[in-house]
Amino acid sequence: MNDSPIRRPDERAGLLLRELYHRHGYQGYRMSKFEPYDLYARNKSFLVSENILTFTDTDGRLMALKPDVTLSIIKNAQPSGQALEKVYYHENVYRTSPAAAGYREIMQTGLECIGALDLAAMGEVLALAAESLALLSGEYLLDLGHVGLVSALLAEQAGLEEAVRAGLLAELGRKNAPAIRSLCAQAGLEHSLAEKLCRLSQLYGPPAQVLPQLEELAECREAQAALEELEGLCRILERLDLLERVRLDFSIVNDMRYYNGVIFRGYLPGLASGVLAGGRYDNLLRRMGKAGGAIGFAVYLDQLERLDQGSDYDVDVLLLYSLQDDPAAVAERTRALMAEGKSVRAERTAPPRLRYRELVRFSEGGPA
């Protein structure tokens, strides 16, 4: 990522990613910065953070700076018959995060695939997620989970209270096995369910290692179907040589009112939180009155800044001249140094905070 010092890693990545999606036949999607607040208010729990930056439009309508791209795309999606709608985007979103006080602008690049999904289309999106990460770092990890498997396990227990269910999912997300056990005991759930959930929470590793262990956990039909889907996707990734950096992890749980199938997260070494998040969200589509399936992901480009080591110097050469020197000759000398591939700053005195590799005094020679 050091082809040009002025091109920031997030900008460079944004270009590379869009090129990748474009080559896979996805269409660019440009949207308005604002949407009516209503759209987000109705789907608040789909959003990463529930805080929304609002303002009143000239006609008195309450508008929002978009906190999310997916909702806008789905709102406008018109999948027809068997044909899929494949789009990519590169947009700013406005969110709060628990770590930072106040709103932040986050640049996101991502894609959505909407319509009558099949395994091939899902495999394509997953492969693109892996390839997106590979563009950012050779040492990425792509975690893959399945909401269907978790919900099938929870469905084994009839009449599970909503609060208990939410508690179990939260502890699954923390990989907190003791808490899962004690929650199950408190709620009087079957011991076998507690043990299955605990085992699921602790599973983490390459598919070849984890898939066989899942066989024992997936007893009911829904769980079997979820497992088969995972196996199918892994076969696709294997064929494309993209399986090596995939890990199965069932602690990725999202709101099941929106997500239903595979769910995935991408990580890069050196960054404390994920840079890619995606999954299948047919339920959201249904909530918005549309048929079919949808899968997509977003890459959070704002994080990439942290990957950039940057240069230790502001400029390569500081060229010092004086008022006695011929200005045209100074300009010429600057161009000559630049022609050597260096960045040059011409000044009469050295700026106090400027860090330069090399000091050149105009008076001390060089081409006349």
Binding site: A99, L141, D143, R174, K175, N176, P178, Y204, Y267, L271
Partner: protein, 211 residues
């Protein structure tokens, strides 16, 4: 060479016990045992780098990835809800989060309850489950004097032996949740240093079971 595992330890008495547990589990660091004022200690042989931080900051170091793993009280995890994995209950530093009040305290249900605490999130959540309207007074220390001076009706605080309460003429009235030290991990560090962390976790748990 394997990358070192960064471990955030809570400064203070609990931290000493926690380090002793790590040492027993096969992760000693001789330099940490010397009397000095350094904050960071490495032992390349055992593959660990320890550092002492304020107990309430451990979760921040881990959540933001400056530490791969750390040990934090359940009280801190409940109060700040950091986005981390909670891998094991070490069974150390056991105590409980309690509501305490003066011994002769009479709870007037027809009034807003004034609650002094260092843990506004936990206290707020607890009274929300009871649908009780409260006025939270966020203090940073010496919580016990709040009811004595009439600043609050009750306090929500950690109770270990109850001795401090007793000496101030207070007593625990209700237990909100038991507290103990937990082994937590950064979610990304867990993935990139998976083998190291699960091995450490396994050894620590084996020791916890022995007690």
């Amino acid at each position: 060479m394997m990358e070192l595992l960064n471990i955030a330890l809570p400064k203070g008495r609990l931290g000493e016990k926690v380090y002793a547990r790590f040492k027993a589990a096969g992760y000693p660091c001789p330099s940490i045992e010397e009397e000095n004022r350094k904050l960071i200690f490495e032992n390349e042989e055992a593959g660990v780098r320890y550092f002492w931080v304020k107990p309430s900051d451990v979760a921040i170091y881990v959540e933001r990835g400056a530490a791969d793993i750390g040990v934090a009280g359940k009280d801190i995890l409940l109060e700040y809800e950091p986005d981390v994995y909670e891998l094991a209950d070490l069974g150390l530093g056991k105590c409980r989060m309690c509501v305490a009040a003066k011994k002769d305290f009479r709870d007037r249900m027809d009034r807003v309850l004034r609650v002094a605490t260092k843990f506004p999130h936990i206290a707020g959540g607890y009274y929300a489950t009871l649908s009780r309207e409260i006025d939270i007074i966020h203090l940073n220390g010496s919580i016990e004097i709040a009811p004595i001076l009439g600043l609050s009706d009750v306090i929500v605080d950690i109770v270990e032996t109850g001795k401090t309460l007793l000496e101030n003429d207070l007593e625990p009235k209700e237990t909100i949740v038991p507290i103990s030290a937990r082994l937590i991990a950064n979610k990304v560090g867990y993935k990139f240093k998976h083998e190291q962390i699960t091995e450490l976790c396994r050894r620590m748990e084996a020791l916890s079971e022995k007690g």
